[in-house]
Amino acid sequence: MKMWTSRTGSNGTTVTNPGTMRPPTIGRSLRPEQVLRPVRPGFIWSTLIGAFLLNLLPWGKDVWVPDFFALTLVFWNVHQPRRVGMGIAFVFGLLMDVHNGTLFGEHALAYTLVSYGAISLHRRIQWFPVLSQTIYVFALLLVAQLASAAIRLWVGGASPGWWLGLLSSVVGAVIWPLLNSFLLAPQRRPAKRDDTRPL
């Protein structure tokens, strides 16, 4: 189990075993898997910062807007757990707290928990097809929201209609397949440009 599941190589440099070599599991047919190219660190950072900037847009009280940063963080924690860890989650969480005027450390704690969940589940999540991964992602995003909700309930008591905000986790999980294909696109490029290649 341990040996067969590391698909992209957790340090992101080489791919040791393409998925076609994996033994078939129960109820899951043998799918051809593409060998991914190594990821560029610049791409990781730019997507994380881009997601953070998306969060900074003046969304107001629109409850459905997903937490783009949490989603991107989960993606890189799952695919590159050696490069994107809890430290990054913590620091960006503090920035988020300053922007939203919430208690210092609230988002930091939430993002740290999400990051831990994603890192400890990363082998299992990668094992599933993208659509099934959304369930895990939904659970992780929910943990983040419930963690900050718990802090707020502890600090100041319930606020009217706070649970409506949990809708953003649903939306976040729904856009996970899109985000997945977008963030994996640079690694799916062919190594050499070839005009005769069909794709």
Binding site: L94, F104, G105
Partner: protein
């Protein structure tokens, strides 16, 4: 469940240790930030770095608003113009009356030997964005300590009180809206002069008068204004209108629900009054009459 890497590859500190470290750090920060204001300088520093980014990110929204405004039809502009003119005429009458009343009031005050009320300096500010936090009602405005903002200043718009400046950064400030459940202000019912305290309501976008007896003389439609008892909000500014009074006999208090007078989320231009917070009562005076002298202990909450 443990699928750790083989020990021959050094992976640094384990994930659990990191989790423990960062969670404890976050918890410590939360507790410190809640109890004391020691982290305000850190917050100020971060906000100063973040501020230009935030301003740039407001451009797309402002652009959309501007373009939408550009394509507004002449008809709606005419309508708005008509409405504004009507409002101006109505208000000019009031303004003239106000001048006269002011003079009369000054004379009466000087006759009665009452200290003259000072004009409050004010500053027009623009609402930048609303906090996304679903547990509080806060907005951020575009003036900060560089422009002389101080925490505690009341914020109003053209139709009533909006809230209070609660945190000041170098270039921007946070305003807690009246509808925030941690916000409160002393008010007065116009019809009968009843004093009460308005708190942020249970329902979204409402206020509530608390601790009024079940048989209190308040009806739907009553106007509620600031009473000025706290020394923070000037007296007589429109706050809200009573929409519902529940007199449940099980409770000893009436539940009075109000609708704020200010267009709490629509108006973008606001006015901050730079009132000086009243001096804190002296310790001796506080000991002598502990309850009466501190009506604003909640109103200037940070």
């Amino acid at each position: 469940m443990e699928y750790g890497p083989p020990p021959l590859f050094n992976q640094g500190v384990s994930a659990r240790a990191r989790l423990a470290f960062f969670s404890l750090a976050a918890a410590a920060l939360i507790i410190v930030d809640r109890q004391v204001n020691a982290l305000d300088s850190v917050r100020n520093g971060v906000e100063t770095i973040l501020y230009p980014v935030q301003r740039v990110l407001l451009w797309p929204r402002d652009l959309v608003v501007d373009v939408a405004g550009y394509f507004q039809t002449i008809g709606s502009l005419n309508e708005e113009n008509e409405h504004l003119r009507r409002q101006m005429v109505e208000q000019s009458e009031r303004a003239q009356q106000a001048d006269q009343l002011q003079k009369e009031n000054d004379q009466l005050r000087s006759l009665a030997g009452v200290k003259e009320r000072l004009a409050v300096p004010s500053q027009v500010v623009v609402e930048l964005y609303e906090s996304r936090d679903s547990f509080s009602n806060k907005i951020v405005i575009d003036r900060g300590s560089h422009d002389g903002m101080k925490p505690g200043g009341p914020v109003i718009d053209e139709s009533g009180v909006v809230g209070q400046v609660t945190r000041v950064f170098p270039n921007s400030s946070e305003v807690t809206l009246l509808t925030d459940k941690e916000q409160s202000l002393p008010v007065q019912v116009v019809r009968n002069g009843l004093h009460a305290v308005a708190f942020g309501g249970q329902e979204r976008g409402t206020l509530e008068l608390k601790f009024l007896p079940a048989n209190v003389d308040v009806q739907g439609g009553d106007q509620v204004v600031t009473s000025g008892l706290d020394g923070v909000y000037p007296a007589g500014m429109a706050v809200a209108t009573v929409t519902r009074v529940d007199r449940d006999l099980k409770d000893q208090f009436a539940r009075v629900v109000l609708k704020p007078a200010a267009g709490l989320s629509e108006s973008r231009l606001l006015l901050v009054l730079m009132t000086k917070p009243p001096p804190l009562p002296l310790p001796e005076a506080e000991q002598r009459k502990p309850a009466n002298e501190r009506p604003n202990s909640k109103a200037v909450r940070r």
